[in-house]
Amino acid sequence: MLEDLLKGHEKSRFILITDSLECIGRHLLLNWVESALERCEKLFLLCFERPPDFFHNWIQPHLRQKLICINGNEDWDETGEMTFNLARVLEEVAQGEGTPTCVAIDSLTLPILMRPAPVTCRQLHRLATSDHVIQVAVVVHRDLTDQHACGLLEHKATTVIDLLPSVSGSGHACHIRHCRPTGKVFKTRESFDFDEAIRIKRISPLKATQEPQKILALTSQEPDPTANLDLSFKLQLSESEREARSQVILPYLKDGSSETSTSKILYEADDADDFDEEDPDDDLNI
């Protein structure tokens, strides 16, 4: 599904990429921008977090003239403050009536921070439903956006790609929910990786064993100071060892079931032995 979406085989008007600090969406967005440039005539890229050059220099040279980067940080209002809104992109897109256009935004977090979420949603909706806009792809940071705003965005989006760190260490995993215009809903889980040039490769369905676990509080809150040391002996117990330990009967435990010994002690008194009938423990008060 991811591959189809990237290549444009699957149509989707509004792709929402959600990421977090552990696995950022910017690299996926880069790849999407590059493949979208093949399919459209103009792509407007609204940058808030990295400057336009970041994207411009990465895209292959023959595609660059189709890419129009708008620096979201250069949008000032009358008081001289940054507005962090989507107005400029809306304007530019509106002007290009008739040309197949795509829009990308990195990222939506600052606009949502600065103004009420519904305003941003409405602006996105207008973008996505403009006739000549083929596709809109937007990155949103899950760890910075509240549930309400996330919900609003997910509702509007035709495709939602949740990026999650892959359990096996390298690469990323994603959960995709895609709604076709016909109404059919697809939910897939896939994993992918980037090469050295940050180009996507190795997209494959996610195996069950690679499912990233929800990061809840794991076993215990108490950190184990012995965990990272290289000891030459084992401090932990395995299950069988634990069981064996619980079976051991401790000496001196009076459980009444121990066999009384049948051996006797025979003592023959010496000449020098002095028998004292008193019990020496008499004056001990325990």
């Binding site: 600090l21 970041f54 940054m82 977090t109 940071h141 100071p225 290289d230």
Partner: protein
């Protein structure tokens, strides 16, 4: 101390940081040493440096720099360093009659221009201006941002202030670097959220925290470093981790479990 940290980060001490937006989170009480590291490193490289001190006075940094072998007073006199006494600015909010024009007070309403202009003018004083090439990539250091949150500046304006600083620092040629520190108290929601914002915006985030197992004389804490996309090029995220022990003039860095006390 400078050499050890440069070696750990894997950077060249003669030009780091270059085009970096470094955000430092201090979750222990010791984390200030990183600010001293950046301050001393940049002064030694003779780069134009603007330091906004929001939590301590200039003397504090001066005295520590002396121990580390740098003379901040002469750097200031030679116009390589300009120190904005943010502590004074904040305390002026309380002084009657000075509030109207106080740049930090304006931040409460989301007006970041006065404070940014102050930074811009300060940089101009030491010869850094957008209109001409100058020698040495400028550096802007802010210590520390949590003071703004504490006095009541809303989170979104703190974030937009940092965004503006990022924009400002990259508007010069050669592009400058930004270093911001943030103290994070345990369970402090605002500060934690600000940190997540900064982590997304930055090119390098460094987190200093205590050991989870509590206080230890030999190991004071740990440092977690995350390299993200640089400002102009994507790069693969990679991490580094170490434990540290501070002394009066130096720092010892060692991998977990490798402290000399343990071995």
């Amino acid at each position: 101390m400078l050499a050890q940290i440069c070696q750990f980060l894997g950077v060249d001490s003669s030009d780091f940081p270059l085009n970096e937006h470094v955000f430092v989170a201090d979750k222990s009480k010791d984390g200030g040493f990183l600010i001293h590291y950046f301050l001393n490193l940049c002064v030694k490289q003779n780069r134009p440096l603007c330091f906004v001190g929001l939590s301590q006075s200039f003397n504090h940094y001066c005295t520590v720099a002396q121990k580390l072998g740098t003379n901040l007073l002469s750097a200031r006199n030679n116009k390589n360093l300009i120190f904005i006494e943010g502590l004074r600015l904040i305390s002026d909010i309380v002084v009657e009659g000075k509030e109207k024009t106080n740049p930090i007070l304006q931040l409460f309403n989301g007006i970041t221009s006065p404070l940014c202009n102050l930074v811009y003018d300060s940089l101009k004083e030491i010869g850094v201006s957008s209109f001409q090439e100058h020698f040495g990539a400028p550096v802007l250091i802010i210590d520390d941002l949590s003071v703004l949150l504490s006095v009541g500046v809303p989170l979104k304006y703190v974030v937009s202030f940092v965004k503006r600083l990022q924009y400002l620092v990259t508007s010069y040629s050669p592009q400058g670097s930004l270093i911001v520190s943030l103290c994070i108290g345990e369970g402090d929601g605002d500060e934690e959220d600000t940190w997540v914002h900064l982590s997304h915006l930055g090119t390098l985030s460094i987190e200093v925290s205590n050991l989870k197992s509590g206080y230890c004389k030999e190991v004071h804490g740990q440092i977690q470093v995350e390299w993200k996309d640089s400002y102009l090029k994507p790069r693969k995220v990679h991490y580094k981790h170490t434990q540290y022990r501070l002394s009066d003039k130096n720092i010892e860095l060692f991998a977990s479990g490798m402290s000399s006390a343990v071995l």
